[in-house]
Symmetry: C2
DNA sequence: TATTGTTATACTCTATAACTATA
DNA sequence: TATAGTTATAGAGTATAACAATA
C-alpha cells in the first residue's frame, strides 16, 4: 500500500521539480496578491528592496542584480517613479548613468509590503514545526547562493 | 554592524520569496535543458508522468491535475501524439471524452527524462548533506500537499 | 442545460535590435 | 569603441470566447 499505492494515486507528489513548482507557484500567487497595489507587482517590490540599502544604484546595476532585462526595467521604473516611490537623479560622476533613490513614501510602501509578505510566508509554511521551517529556509538559501554563483559564472550579461 | 552590513551587501539573499524564486528558476533552467527534446518541454514530461500510471485519464482530468488550461493542453497533446508518445482513443463509456494512453516509446522517453532530471536535481542540491537534503524534500512535499488541498478549496474550476 | 474537446482571437510578456548621449 | 538609458517591433505564451458533439 505504502509506496506503490501513493505513486499510483498521485505519481507527481514525490517529484522534486513538481513539488518545487507547486510551492513556488502557490507562493507567487499569494505574494502577487500581497503586492498587487505595487507598480510592477513582485518585481516592483524587489526593486524597492534593492534600492532601500546602501548607495543608490544605477539602472544597469539593478537589472544585473535582479536578473531583469534593462529594457523592461525602464518601464518598471517609469511606473515606480510615477507613483512617487523612487526618483531618478543624474549620477554626478557619470552623466550617462542615473541613480535610483527610494523616497519616503517608497520606504513606507516597502515596509507594508514586507509585512504582508511575511504573513503570506507564514500562511504557506503553517504545518511545519519551527525547527523544520528554519532548516527549510536555511537549505533554500544555501541552494540559492550556490545557483547564484553558478549563474554568475555562466551568464556573460 | 554585522547584520546591517550583510543586509547592505545583499538584502535579498535572506528573503524567502526571493530565494524560492531563484531556486525554482535555476531548477527550471536545467530541467528545461534536460527535457528540451520532449514536445512541450517540462509540461510534456508532466503529462507523460500523469498518464503513466493507473487508468488512462481524459484530457480534462489531466488539465485539472496539472493546472493547465484545457485549450493549451490540446496543442501539447497534438505534439505528443505526433511524436508517437501518446495516443488519443475514444472513451467507450462517454463518447465526448477521449482517453490518453501512453505508448511504449512514451514510457521509454519518460524513463530517460526521469534519469536526466534526477541528475539535474543532484546538481542543484550538491552541497547539502544527505540528511539536510532529505529534510528539505520532505518539507517541500509537505508544503506542496498543503497548498494543493488549499488550492482545491479556492479554485472552482 | 451542462460537459468534452476544439478552434480562433486578443492580450501580456519577453527578447531583439536600433538609437541617443555620454565616456 | 564601449557603455547607460531609451524606444519600437516581433515573437512566444496565455487567457477568453465561441463552437460542435454528446450527455
Amino acid at each position: 500500500m505504502s509506496s506503490s499505492d501513493a505513486a499510483a494515486t498521485h505519481p507527481l507528489e514525490s517529484d522534486f521539480g513538481w513539488t518545487l513548482g507547486v510551492v513556488a507557484k502557490a507562493y507567487r500567487r499569494i505574494a502577487d496578491d500581497a503586492v498587487a497595489t505595487l507598480p510592477g507587482g513582485p518585481r516592483g517590490y524587489h526593486i524597492l528592496a534593492a534600492v532601500s540599502d546602501g548607495q543608490p544604484p544605477s539602472q544597469l546595476a539593478i537589472a544585473r542584480q535582479l536578473g531583469i532585462d534593462k529594457t523592461v526595467l525602464v518601464h518598471l521604473l517609469d511606473d515606480l517613479e510615477n507613483a512617487k516611490l523612487v526618483t531618478r537623479r543624474p549620477d554626478p560622476a557619470d552623466r550617462r548613468a542615473r541613480q535610483i533613490v527610494i523616497t519616503g513614501k517608497g520606504r513606507q510602501t516597502l515596509r507594508r509590503a514586507r509585512e504582508k509578505l511575511d504573513a503570506a510566508e507564514t500562511a504557506l509554511t503553517t504545518g511545519l514545526r519551527p525547527a523544520e521551517l528554519s532548516a527549510f529556509k536555511t537549505a533554500l538559501a544555501q541552494i540559492a547562493r550556490r545557483t547564484h554563483t553558478l549563474a554568475d559564472g555562466i551568464d556573460d550579461c
